[in-house]
Symmetry: C2
Subunit: 200 residues, 2 copies
């Protein structure tokens, strides 16, 4: 997960029909009675995968506002990835979106991250719950996050371009070499020559 | 620590006179017989503080190459900061410098982090060892890191502008509000109006 779905804002109001679930363990994703995901309160103590600035799959627009994306994963899932090169069930990836600023304190160039939170997206692997295994959720980071409907383009884009199990491991520099070594890179990624050249 | 010392390359060859030390605990910084710091092998599992792109206290230059800085801190030190708003003895901050790239896989704009490691700086609080409490070390991340001499400008700049205990907490968005709340912001930072406006 490294790209904000362009349709997120339009679909957040869509009602998601899903039953409440009881987590299988304390480490499992937690949903409310409306099927919304409760964001983990301690994700800033999870394992950091990478950050990007103003990343986009669109060539145009957005040059007047800058944002960082920070991606974190649950430690249990990270450790399983170290062993296997892929994600276990109940993996949760958190993408925190944060303001960027150039001038402040002694900084004069480039961009640093500010205290301004600008949203959160979560990518959850819960095979007992979701057809296809994974679902995306979006929110402001402070309350429950609504599921993004399966027809949104995030799902097809991640399926068609994700390097490992529909996730954008090509943008996670410490995981990409592991996946190469373990032979877990997706066929979709390997046949995408631009993708295969990424992050090298 | 958020700024690469401009003098690092020039001073890395300087011999640092320091005796070998036995760490007080497994969590303590580890030095070799020449006083170089052994980089922690597991810092990517430490707590992420922030990242920046091309940050610099110089207004000019460097526009043709892009780099991300990722800063991590030892979990024990992070937890102490949550309680106190400042750093305990034996804090280690790691700044990993990493390549940035715009076009790759499906990305068309902005910058993402690549697998290219471009160096590492470490900022260590070891009051029994260093006059002033802290020292900087620089290396390539793969072997022992040489201490940067105390006369280098990193030390004076961090003393004169660091928001908390000579560290650039003004660029660590989850820690700055904590330091404000705990009243641990430095006088140097508070009297620096530009600094006080940073990251807001």
């Amino acid at each position: 997960m490294k790209f904000r779905c362009a349709v997120v804002m339009a679909v957040l109001a869509v009602t998601v029909a899903a039953a409440a679930a009881v987590p299988a363990s304390a480490a499992a994703p937690v949903y409310d009675a409306d099927g919304r995901l409760i964001p983990p309160s301690d994700y800033r103590e999870w394992i950091f995968l990478s950050s990007g600035l103003d990343m986009s799959y669109r060539a145009r627009g957005g040059d007047d506002m800058h944002m960082f994306d920070n991606v974190f994963v649950k430690p249990e899932a990270y450790r399983a990835f170290q062993d296997t090169g892929t994600w276990p069930d109940q993996t949760v990836l958190v993408m925190e979106v944060r303001g960027a600023r150039s001038k402040g304190s002694i900084n004069k160039r480039g961009q640093f991250q500010t205290t301004e939170g600008m949203g959160m997206e979560l990518h959850v692997k819960d095979t007992a719950r979701f057809a296809g295994g994974w679902a995306f959720f979006a929110g402001d980071g402070n309350g429950p996050a609504a599921q993004i409907p399966f027809q949104a383009e995030c799902y097809s884009c991640h399926r068609e371009h994700g390097a490992v199990d529909t996730t954008f491991v090509q943008f996670y520099p410490t995981l990409l070499p592991l996946a190469e070594k373990k032979g877990t890179l997706s066929a979709a990624y390997l046949k995408d020559k631009d993708g295969a050249e990424a992050a090298k």
